[in-house]
Symmetry: C2
Subunit: 358 residues, 2 copies
Amino acid sequence: MTNPLPANATIGILGGGQLGRMLSVAASRLGLKTHIFEPSANPPAADVAHTVTTAPYEDEAALTAFANSVDVITYEFENIPTSALDILESIKPVHPNRRALATSQDRITEKEFLSGLGLTVAPFAAVDTLDDLRAAVDKIGLPAILKTRRFGYDGKGQARIMTPDDVEPAFEAVAGAPSVLEGFVDFSHEVSIIGARGVAGDISCYDPGENVHKDGILDTTTVPANLRPAQRTDAVLLAANILNSLDYVGVMGVELFVTKDGLIVNEIAPRVHNSGHWTQNGCAVDQFEQHIRAVAGYALGDGKRHSDVIMENLIGDDVERIPALAKDGSVAIHMYGKADVKKGRKMGHVNRITGPAK
Amino acid sequence: MTNPLPANATIGILGGGQLGRMLSVAASRLGLKTHIFEPSANPPAADVAHTVTTAPYEDEAALTAFANSVDVITYEFENIPTSALDILESIKPVHPNRRALATSQDRITEKEFLSGLGLTVAPFAAVDTLDDLRAAVDKIGLPAILKTRRFGYDGKGQARIMTPDDVEPAFEAVAGAPSVLEGFVDFSHEVSIIGARGVAGDISCYDPGENVHKDGILDTTTVPANLRPAQRTDAVLLAANILNSLDYVGVMGVELFVTKDGLIVNEIAPRVHNSGHWTQNGCAVDQFEQHIRAVAGYALGDGKRHSDVIMENLIGDDVERIPALAKDGSVAIHMYGKADVKKGRKMGHVNRITGPAK
């Protein structure tokens, strides 16, 4: 696809969670419709999408009909089965591309890709067996963290190994799934940079945000992050390096550890990212619209920030704080329309505008 | 209705134009669904609404089913037939209420109501016949403007009378519809204030915006408006007076002429208003969310503005400027998803953030 989509074109989105929901809203601002493909019924994105297909990723007829009904396809999560991608790609352009997906789906592929670009990652070793794990611990040292190669998110599929006694329980925790042992990184804080690349190769980045996690889940992102000017430059350059190397189209989230020796890449996400939600109330063009602009072949926003923001996730019964938060004129509420409140479930987030951009 | 709506409740909206579209988006941010009732097919709001009913306002069965499927009913335009309102009100709460609708539907009822509150309006006289018009011109003087009592918007149903020769053509222009002759007001500029009132009687106003029209249609709204502090206070007090007098729930737009003798009320709109679109990029809580908060029984936002904004409507082929506007990092685009570009048709608007709130 080289021409921009016409007004009223339809963006197909794989996945109907909160990211698909906010992508749909952003598409509407550009006069574009969305069609959500999602296996589970009544997903959050259905409330604000023009069309919804409820079908599993194994339903070839549904995938084909979906692809034929849209102008371009994107996704809100990276674990799309290859077989589904084969069908979709044969009918319509899919952005970001297959290589970006394959790279981010597997922690070892990802780390090898990033290392190959000259970027620094945590020390790592592949682990398939308990013997592999013992050898990896000998090589990397402790403490370390064992993570499944695929399907991990929000701290799931992970086990910390602080002492040799933790080795066997950690291996049992990942239940024999192909895994990677990562050495601990001595970092002062975590930041992420949300970058975007358009079809013409143009690149735009938002100012990095500083992330604080709680119980393995993102709790807050504060913008601007605590970074020296040279570190900000490094963050932009490494994001651009990754985006260009993948011939990427769309928004990408890049998580970075800040260490005394420089920035270490933790992981990349080939999609809009929780740590970029602050852009909804800090920028004229937020990350969701930026992603839609990229996949639709439109000009990217320049990433300009008008306000400083603290984004806070509302997890589980944090939603009970909504009535109090609603009374604060500096707080913007973003709920996801999820029917049931569950422990650890992302129910929404708030963006607190803390002042004009500094 | 005194209790706030629960999460996942549904707001019924009469009318599926751009205002309904942006109300739907705002509802989604609060975790609420929307159901649009609209006679014409594929309206702009359908792209972002959970449910759409396509039926005329005379379809009693459709109205009944619609009302039964939602938790509260509101609207994006004031010309709702009384017969439809009778059915809807018998099933679910309708906000703003019938009196607000009736008052704003008829220019004479409106002016008499406003005068009764002690507010200043332009001199006016009812006109049903050509003789009425001649008598009204004698009483009010020229120049003056003849407007139909009902169904006027964006300069439609209006005729200027500059000289006695214009009297007969003006009467023909309104085609015998019940009308009102309004005297010209010697005003320096027009502003509008967007006020909101909650179910508990709480009131919140945004800072007034300054409006410039082109060809009878709103062209730009600039915030802050050029007003002295005492005029700002007057604007808030008169808006509160109107809202309280109508026992109003929801957002109202109040158009004001600024004269050397004070503020004159031009007209009121019992709904979100084009001159309030700037709030989408100037405030954490915009007018659309404020309206949804009010009708859902939630706490109102306090009207706080974080940025100064110039809103510009995109009329007809103004949409051709979108690619250029998209490259400006201070510009937020809001398209309405209308299929056909027509002369004089509101296709979208842009909000240009001009700096931190002054």
